[in-house]
């Protein structure tokens, strides 16, 4: 469980501010907002990669007091961009996700087993011997997603995990994340409003560095969203849910 009270994080001229929010295991949370609204900064504060002021409790304990290994043992982060400057194969890239579970010296049979499962879950088993850097953008993204869930933590933060992934695998990935969120807290930065409204239960909206709107699926209002995104947001309701249709300025 994550409890935030009066969080501020500054970098240069940018300030992230979160007045207060509580997020629990079992939630599947979408993080939305325009570019530069603070979504990625928010995730990196949660992951402990940035200094902040204010109160942040992780599973009831002050995050600041947690030693780094314990923080990383509880939270995984898939950054928006990942680079690798060594020609590792796909299997090894996914395997390195298990680092926090090792004694620092070797990966065990259990780690290899977990890696196989993560790869299977994201349908990348056939890529195992390929070089990571030679893959297409979408394939890379699935490999990194597999690497992140392979870390097997109770909180999973994903910054635009679906970008570049084809529709087939988007569906698979979302289903997987949704399954994971039954026992974990899964937070996903996403830009596709229709997809978000179809799949997620809870929504965090950022504008200008501030967490401005927290809502459940059924509380969402077109007016409010139009304000946040600066475009006209229309909900087209149908029997399977809501489709979002936007009009520019």
């Amino acid at each position: 469980m994550i409890e935030l009270r009066g969080i501020k994080a500054r970098q240069g001229g940018f300030t992230l501010s979160v007045e207060g929010v509580t997020l629990k295991q079992g939630e599947f949370v979408a993080v939305l907002g325009n570019n530069g609204s603070g979504k990625s900064t928010f995730l990196s504060v949660l992951a402990g990669l940035r200094n902040y002021e204010g109160g942040y409790l992780l599973d009831g304990r002050d995050f600041r007091e947690l030693p780094p290994p314990e923080r990383h043992g509880r939270i995984s982060l898939l950054p928006q961009m990942t680079t690798l400057n060594m020609p590792f194969d796909v299997f090894y890239v996914v395997l390195t996700g298990r680092f926090i579970h090792t004694n620092g010296l070797n990966y065990t049979e259990a780690d290899i087993e977990a890696t196989e499962q993560a790869m299977e879950a994201l349908d990348i088993t056939h890529l195992r011997k390929r070089q990571f850097n030679e893959l297409s953008g979408g394939e890379k993204q699935r490999v990194l997603l597999a690497r992140t869930i392979n870390k097997d933590t109770s909180v999973i933060l994903l910054d635009e995990p679906l970008s570049g992934i084809d529709i087939l695998h988007q569906h698979d990935s979302i289903r997987l994340l949704k399954d994971l969120s039954r026992k974990k807290l899964v937070m996903v930065v996403i830009h596709d409003l229709s997809l978000a409204l179809r799949e997620f239960e809870r929504f965090l909206f950022f504008t200008g560095g501030t967490l401005s709107y927290v809502a459940g699926k059924h509380e969402l209002e077109e007016e409010r969203l139009s304000e946040i995104f600066g475009v006209r947001v229309n909900f087209l309701r149908h029997d399977k849910g809501i489709l979002v249709y936007t009009e520019g300025r």
Binding site: P68, I75, P79, M86, T96, G104, L105, N106
Partner: protein, 325 residues
Amino acid sequence: MISLKRTNLAMAVSASLLAVITVIAVSKGAVEIHLLGMTEVQRDILLYVRIPRVLLAGLVGASLVLSGTLFQYVMKNPLADSFTTGVSASSAMGAVVAIMLGLGPVLPVFALAGGLTGLAAVYKISSVRGRVQPITMLLAGIVISTFASATISLMKFLSDDAVSSIIFWLMGGFQSASMGKVATLAGVLAASFAVIRRDYLSLDIICFDDTTASSSGVDVARLRRKAFFIAALLTAFSVGYAGIIGFVGLVVPHVVRLLRYVKAAELIPLSLLCGALFMILNDLVARTVLSEGQELPVGIITSSIGGVFFLYLLIKRKKELYYFD
């Protein structure tokens, strides 16, 4: 795992090659020695000149390669080694000061002091709140390197008579090998290896960007500091004992990576063996290619063999090389 078998095989092959080359290097030299039925002089040459020399060459080769490999991890740059980081040049600056002041016997101490000073400067310039910035470090290294080279040039200029001594010393060589130096360097190398082999998995993870690496649970700043210090220490000892020997720390890890040994657990031990092998071979050439016991400075051989080979790789295997960027 299959890759483990492949690695073990490669290790076995390079270890046996190393053994063979060592035997050849011990049996060949300026003076012909028949291992069976040696004269007393030949026995002395073997024990006090040749064997220490072959061992020192191997250890310096391994040390330079380990330091080069670590610098490449720290700076996320395949072209990093003790030269690009300025540690080599500042060690050399310390050594040249020792030559100028006529303190030849304590030259390694000066090289070490110079190297660590250069390291401190580069580290200070390139770290922001304890975090080393790879690109800044590369730039700082170039600045320190240039500064150290300029200082060496000034010292050369100020001492017309010592200039040839300085030039020859800078070209590198293992002439003044001794069992004492062999023991010291073996100790430093073994300790460095023992420390860094516990970080193989972390070294692999810092090949990712810093955000990914940190959130994977690796203390990136601390690992960089550690690897940087070990690399600088190895460079300073190598320069102190054998002068400036270029290209080894760059070429050997590169070749090992091109052979698809890319995980630290494979790359580092294999590079160590190949570095020792390469250097013993180069020194063998340096001390046998000319007649009547004349020698070539070994730095010339490593740079030309290494340079040509590297050029070949650049031209033939451009594609693979790009992936390290």
